[in-house]
Symmetry: C2
Subunit: 128 residues, 2 copies
Amino acid sequence: MTEETIWKDGDFRLVRHESEIPWLILHPKAEYREFSRMPRALRIRTMDLLAAIEEEMLAYYRPEKINIASFGNYLPRQHWHIMARFREDSYFPEPMWGTRQREAQLDLPPFAPFAEALRVRLDAVSLS
Amino acid sequence: MTEETIWKDGDFRLVRHESEIPWLILHPKAEYREFSRMPRALRIRTMDLLAAIEEEMLAYYRPEKINIASFGNYLPRQHWHIMARFREDSYFPEPMWGTRQREAQLDLPPFAPFAEALRVRLDAVSLS
């Protein structure tokens, strides 16, 4: 599984998860087994980053819906999945972990301009 | 699908989702298509409520892991699933939307005392 780092600051690292859809994973730099074990200030920053990532995905890709999830059952280290979902993707309306609905051929705009806009946006969130 | 209301205040309603595992769903009272469309104060309250629910689940059920997810693909109205996961539940380590791993017979403590402790806790979070 390729995981390219898109952005990071002192507390978080955002990586791209290889998929047919735009799918990012937000990792806290420190290891927390569960979300509630993080200091509240980091939980608030998590929430601000998730909302900012979501807004950039909505603006750039115009998806049908954003999906957000935190599982960590295989490796109990808390992290967040943020996924842009499309009516015609292979799993919609099921979660990406559900039953495949079809063989999709998505025609999405290139990832690089989105990643660049996202870096600018998250640097601003990070400093605020 | 039975959905018993466990707790509510002016902004949120917490319901029980019928499942072999402890599974709650946090609904904002107002309709938001996406998490980022909520006012920031409500997003922070969401995060505080998720963390409090998670802590109460961890304290009472001693699960292997907490899973949190927001999909809303069938009905695009933002809400959060909070699930206590156990090594021996039917889907672990897959998400509850994944491939069934086994036929589980979980032996969990009764829900009522957990719900009562949760109500007390969430009333405190709600007032803070």
